[in-house]
């Protein structure tokens, strides 16, 4: 096996020059996203460096309770991010979003780590934390897109929703086309990316594993399982989020509450 080439901090710093391209394009087209991009990049850097330090420590401790707490903390941050990005009210949506995230992770983590990888202890930090992190990180985008599409479209197409409701549909029946569209919008890109995986794109985790010195065959097998786990977890998370949140987003007459959107 070839020796892994480390990136020193100066080289890492020079890599940031690549950010000039997106920053210039976003500034040139007056998108108003330059500040957000710079903040996001700075946050990503600090967070990952801290996580690197923290994970080293957490891997040494390898305590199930600490690992679970870490995952719950990640889920809380993910839920906060999802609601912020969807333009919905934090107070109303936090619990349903968090609950859906934790349930979908618990199910897919338990299956993947317990049944497929056959770990004796599924809370083993070296597996439990990175796998859950990948699941959360990859499902956030889907949940944001789906939840946003679902509620905004019901609000915008109120006439359509009412037409169903006032012509004999149950709430579930009236919501079906909106649910269908939310899933389509959220998962069409993921299906397209999955279909070309390996042909014109190499997934980040696998590339990371190979660069980190792993055998490509093992890296590929883990990548396949992770893609399947991510897909499954993301769909489950979206369905549960909409299922739980629609209990608080509608009034007793099944009308969408106007107060669910952040002003």
């Amino acid at each position: 096996m070839e020796k892994v080439i480390d990136i020193n901090y100066f080289e890492l710093f020079t890599g940031y020059a690549l950010m000039l391209i997106p920053v210039f394009a976003l500034w040139y087209y007056k998108t108003g996203l330059v500040k957000d991009t710079l903040i996001a990049t700075a946050r990503m850097t600090v967070q990952l460096l801290l996580v690197g330090l923290y994970l080293e420590y957490i891997f040494k401790l390898n305590n199930a309770l600490i690992n679970i707490s870490w995952v719950v903390l990640m889920s809380i941050i993910a839920s906060y991010t999802i609601i912020r990005r969807s333009g919905l009210k934090m107070k109303l949506f936090f619990i349903p979003v968090l609950l859906s995230g934790i349930i979908s992770i618990a199910i897919t983590d338990a299956y993947f780590l317990g049944f497929v990888v056959k770990l004796n202890n599924i809370f083993n930090a070296r597996y439990f934390i990175p796998v859950t992190g990948m699941l959360l990180g990859n499902t956030i985008k889907n949940v944001v897109i789906a939840v946003d599409a679902f509620y905004k479209r019901i609000d915008e197409e109120e006439n359509y929703y009412r037409w169903h409701l006032a012509n004999g549909a149950t709430k579930k029946e009236a919501l079906l086309p909106f649910m269908r569209d939310a899933l389509r919008v959220a998962f069409n890109p993921m299906i397209a990316t999955t279909a070309i995986m390996g042909l014109i794109s190499l997934p980040g985790m696998m590339t990371g594993q190979i660069l980190g010195g792993s055998n490509p065959n093992i890296a590929v097998k883990y990548q396949i399982m992770l893609l399947i786990t991510i897909f499954s977890s993301a769909v489950l998370n979206v369905v549960l989020t909409i299922f739980f949140s629609n209990r608080i987003a509608f009034d007793a007459f099944d009308n969408l509450k106007k107060g669910i959107f952040r002003k």
Binding site: R162, L165, A166, E173
Partner: protein, 204 residues
Amino acid sequence: MTEISHLTLSFKNEKIFDDFSLLIKKGEKIALSGESGKGKTTLLNLIAGFFPNYRGKITVFGKELNSANISEIRKTIAWLPQDTSIAVKTVKELFFSPFNFALNKNNKPSSNELSTIFSEFALDENLLTKKTNEISGGQKQRILLASCLLLKKPLLLLDEPTSALDEKIKKKITDYILKQEDLTVIAATHDDYWKNKSDKIVVL
């Protein structure tokens, strides 16, 4: 019987209804008249349960409009919105969607019923093969009206049912709908022909 008693409703500090009452007998045809913004559409929406925050009492076929009865009440109504630009792709979907709901499955029209109503409403059955953006507003309105009627609900709530129709078709459709004896019809309308053919005109 449908009864609205002592209805009071405000929107943004503007009173739309102030102690308004109305009694509608079974089979009666009511035309809601009045200038735009006076509450015609709002009254239909109230009966359909779209504005739960009102004061007063609304009773539909003996059932008070509240969270416990809303599902039962909605089972008895068919509703035509004023804005017929409903986001479905095909005319077939526009016409048949309501018949896919569990409640309406048994009312799915037979080919005979379909032909009859299409002929009464001067619609060509080939329209069902088109996309919704390929047909006119008037055709859309007639498709939705035909679908509403075939749902065979005892109460029709129609918001400007003839606004996009030309004179000849308007009269034909008005006569057809208003001659249905057992059907209670509450329509918000600016159309004089519809108003004159109705049993009662309520000016808001």
